[in-house]
């Protein structure tokens, strides 16, 4: 079970000192008797590699590679525990990581207990940051190597105990057997019988060949689902401690408004209110009460003055994000020559702001021990424990010991990587001397968030007499994503001219004799930031819609047209061709449909994974209904097909929700779509069957958390046009 219980008495089984062996395994010092702790070394080798490298070089990311473990195993006579840094928010990664470990340990995945590490147990927080669809891909090899080493160390001990050579032992289902005999010893018995230091294998044990896998590649049950179904899993909103109070605090009425003054006002005398906590310098005015609703009511009754803030509205924000001049990011061939002849096709596309709308609103529990340097402990649903740690140190004092426990996350999609309530809960706990839980209301959660920024893209292409694309000029503009949450001075950002998050999905993957891409980034007066896939889905909407417009102008079938422009020998192009053909085949692309119905196709690539989606729509009753989606994914090796399918289907539904519904509206500097009546997300009634096939395979897994969201809105818009509807160029799609 991976549920992180908010239990302060939980003994800390932390390997405090690591000894690095010549094979770069980390062995918990002192763990020599009746237990075994083995970890894998830190490897920062994956995950939006260019971005990470770029940030490292420029000092905007982690400043040092921490000398600690990525994962570690704890074996006792009671069982095997796999401690992982990466955070479960529904991706199914804890299950996949258990499968990977189980493969090399030779145990059933269900025999492993997966534990979410906290910042006190040997992980530098930077390895815990869970982002960019990198968890399984980055840990795949380190976990296998560490697990194989654990098995080899157990085998050495078992051989000694049985008086045989290790070569005589075979391992299966958590038990060693002496070959040719019925002599067996189970792992827990090896551990129980062991005395003295553990002996290490002479060489890194060989990893199991893929053809012999019994765990990797199987749809084993999710390790966390039972606790969730019994109501036993602890999410951030569920975290509890004895004697805790409920906190709430005043939030600015408009973006950019700052606290000018604060007084208790009517709050102090309201029922159940235990304390009013005001620190104007820190911009904070809050309350602690005996129930949550009383805390919320009292926070609203605080007498607070705010500076004006921005009065911006959605229209002004969209006008600010207007494609035009900017930084040239691609200049292939002569675009002037390409666009001087042939048939010119022009179009512009927009995507609106959107919210993450995870169903668990932000929450945090804090317990701060008395005194200026009292220990701070928080339980938070966060993707980014290091930012929680840093924020707490900055707000409460660098000298304090701070421990961040990560709970289960009730969805996140990027939001809980850059925002949390730990500091506010800790301020209230420090002031009242008791644990305090803070949980936001839905409307506060939607009003005080950061958002997917708006985008605007203008496309201009030319088609030759053979129907082929002569060249494309693309001008893209978007609000900041990474720069909005990462500290880098504005002059530097301006100089660069692009936001790294905005690069995802930004480039046409097709063969183009000439291609010019001019990009523009905008710092907006409202908070923007990472949303599932970052720029991937908005950019793909523009690019893949435009590909269809070119195909239509050329009078060619959109699938054929794409394939005709993916002729280079490169691996990426080959993989795109495969997913396009597969999705088309799944959908019966060549079969005709009755009037009013149509199919659209789109594709994209991200974090090594390529995806194609075919959407089928029905416009026959005058409204847009999506009747089915066929999805082909090449994400490399699939560790858990059932889990990967859920990721794919979930991404499609989220993409469809953006295609059909979502639009965050701002008026007078305030979010006005602040609950699920005004900010609608897709429900079951509008979700068609989503069929998923995995193609490709390979030696290693690529990302699955975000890539599939990419092509969905473009596929739907293309289907609308194919069904005889209008060409829709902005989201959400409206007939």
């Amino acid at each position: 079970m991976s549920a992180a219980k908010a239990d302060p008495s939980d003994p800390v089984g932390r390997p405090r000192r690591w000894r690095v062996t010549r094979r770069r395994l980390l062995i918990g010092a002192g763990a020599t008797f009746g237990s075994l702790l083995v970890g894998a070394p830190i490897v920062v080798e994956y995950g939006r590699p260019t971005l990470v490298q770029w940030m490292l070089e420029r000092g905007t990311g982690p400043t040092e590679i921490p000398e600690s473990s990525l994962v570690w195993f704890e074996l006792t006579r009671d069982g095997i525990t796999l401690h992982v840094p990466k955070i479960e928010m529904g991706q199914g990664i804890h299950t996949a990581l258990a499968q990977i470990a189980a493969e090399e340990l030779r145990v059933q995945p269900s025999r492993l207990t997966v534990v979410q590490a906290d910042t006190a147990r040997g992980f530098p927080a930077a390895t815990m940051f869970t982002f960019g669809s990198t968890s399984v891909a980055s840990l795949y090899t380190p976990i296998r190597e560490a697990a194989a080493a654990v098995r080899a160390m157990l085998a050495l001990a078992a051989a000694g105990q049985l008086g045989v050579e290790t070569q005589q032992l075979t391992a299966a289902d958590g038990t060693f057997q002496v070959a040719g005999t019925d002599r067996r010893i189970a792992y827990p018995d090896v551990i129980a019988a062991h005395h003295g230091p553990w002996q290490e294998p002479e060489e890194q044990p060989a990893l199991r060949p893929a053809g012999e896998f019994t765990s990797i590649g199987r749809s084993v049950p999710r390790v966390d689902i039972r606790a969730k179904l019994l109501g036993e899993a602890t999410y951030g909103y569920d975290a509890r401690l004895p004697g805790m109070g409920y906190g709430a605090f005043a939030v600015p009425p408009r973006f950019g408004a700052e606290l000018q003054s604060a007084e208790p006002g009517d709050a102090a005398g309201m029922p159940g209110v235990q304390q009013v906590v005001i620190d104007v310098e820190a911009g904070f005015a809050g309350v602690v009460a005996d129930t949550r609703t009383r805390a919320w009511a009292a926070a609203r009754a605080l007498k607070v003055d705010w500076s004006d803030g921005t009065r911006v509205d959605t229209g002004a924000l969209e006008r600010q994000v207007t494609a035009g001049d900017g930084v040239v990011l691609r200049r292939d061939g002569s675009i002037r020559d390409a666009l001087s002849r042939g048939r010119i096709v022009e179009a512009e596309y927009r995507t609106p702001m959107a919210a993450h709308a995870h169903l668990e609103p932000l929450a945090a529990l804090a317990r701060v021990e008395p005194g200026a340097v009292g220990k701070v402990e928080v339980w938070v649903p966060t993707q980014s424990p290091e930012s929680v740690l840093e924020d707490l140190h900055a707000a409460l004092g660098e000298d304090r010991e701070v421990v961040v426990h990560v709970t289960q996350l009730g969805g996140s999609f990027g939001r809980k990587g850059g925002q949390h309530l730990a500091v506010e809960a800790a301020r209230l706990s420090a002031a009242t001397g008791r644990p305090v839980h803070v949980g936001w209301t839905r409307d506060t959660d939607l009003r005080q968030a950061f958002y997917r920024p708006p985008t605007h893209t203008t496309m201009r292409g030319s088609i030759g007499s053979d129907g082929m694309i002569r060249g494309v000029e693309q001008r893209s503009a978007a609000g900041d994503i990474i720069w909005a949450v990462a500290g880098l001075p504005e002059p530097v950002r301006s100089l660069l001219g692009f936001d790294p998050g905005g690069l995802l999905g930004l480039f046409l993957p097709y063969d183009l004799p000439a291609y010019r891409l001019v990009n523009r980034r905008e710092q907006l007066p409202v908070p923007t930031g990472p949303w599932r896939g970052l720029g991937l889905m908005p950019n793909t909407f523009a690019l893949e819609s435009f590909l269809d417009e070119l195909a239509e102008a050329a009078g060619t079938d959109p699938l054929t047209y794409r394939l005709a422009h993916l002729r280079q020998a490169g691996e990426q192009q080959e993989r795109l061709r495969t997913v396009l053909r597969t999705a088309a085949q799944m959908a019966g692309w060549s079969e005709s449909l009755p009037a009013g119905r149509g199919r659209g196709i789109a594709c994209s690539g991200d974090v090594g994974t390529v995806v194609a989606v075919v959407a089928e729509v029905d416009l026959s009753d005058g409204r847009l209904r999506v009747t089915g989606l066929d999805v082909a994914v090449d994400c490399g090796l699939v560790v858990n097909p059932a889990g990967a399918k859920l990721q794919a289907q979930g991404s499609v539904v989220m993409g469809l929700s953006s295609a059909l519904r979502e639009e965050l509206r701002i008026h007078d500097g305030q979010v006005v779509s602040d609950n699920f009546d005004s900010y609608q997300i897709l429900g079951m009634a509008d979700t068609p069957p989503v069929r998923v096939n995995f193609v490709g395979g390979g030696e290693v897994p690529f990302g699955m958390g975000e890539p599939v969201v990419g092509p969905v809105p473009a596929a739907v818009a293309n289907a609308v046009r194919a069904a005889g509807g209008p060409r829709l160029r902005s989201l959400p799609l409206r007939l």
């Binding site: 129930t291 289907q649 539904v653 609950n675 079951m684």
Partner: protein
């Protein structure tokens, strides 16, 4: 005042509070979830006298002596409270899991109520019953499969 929850009487203090917060904060039954507070998302669903209701939309006092079932009360347990067997709907969701799980109370308890009145629902009936509950992870295809499987399991048991 007292509430009858999962077959046991519980003394509660804040009868004027929404049932949701009494369950979660006063009694520690955090398997009932807050999502929107306005009765749209369905995360706070409980069974009240066998019918799914939004616990954010009713005060504890309004419940009176009607029995409440929450996610915690579905499994069969022994005298020590240890789980002996999952409810067929829970077992069906183990086989057809959702992702983050925050919305599970709504989907699971709505399915329990559906199967109580219609042991063999067709796909349309399943969709109609499940429709009011959101799932941001997008597990709607899975939810239909889980409820159909739950009906099968319930018939077998």
């Amino acid at each position: 005042m007292q509430l009858l929850i999962n077959g046991r009487h519980h003394e509660i203090e804040h009868g004027d509070e929404p049932l949701l917060w009494v369950l979660r904060d006063e009694l520690g039954l955090t398997g009932t979830r807050y999502g929107c507070g306005v009765g749209i998302c369905g995360c706070c669903t409980v069974l009240l006298a066998g019918r799914p209701v939004r616990s954010c939309q009713i005060t504890a006092a309004e419940v009176g002596d009607r029995p409440i079932v929450t996610l915690e009360g579905l499994a069969e347990r022994d005298a020590d409270g240890e789980v002996v067997a999952l409810h067929p709907v829970q077992q069906a969701f183990v086989e057809n899991p959702l992702q983050c799980g925050w919305c599970l109370p709504g989907h699971v308890l709505t399915a329990v109520a559906l199967l109580a009145r219609d042991p063999a629902p067709d796909e349309a009936a399943i969709a109609e019953a499940a429709k009011p509950n959101l799932c941001r992870c997008g597990g709607y295809n899975t939810i239909k499969a889980a409820v159909a499987r739950a009906a099968e399991l319930a018939r077998e048991s």
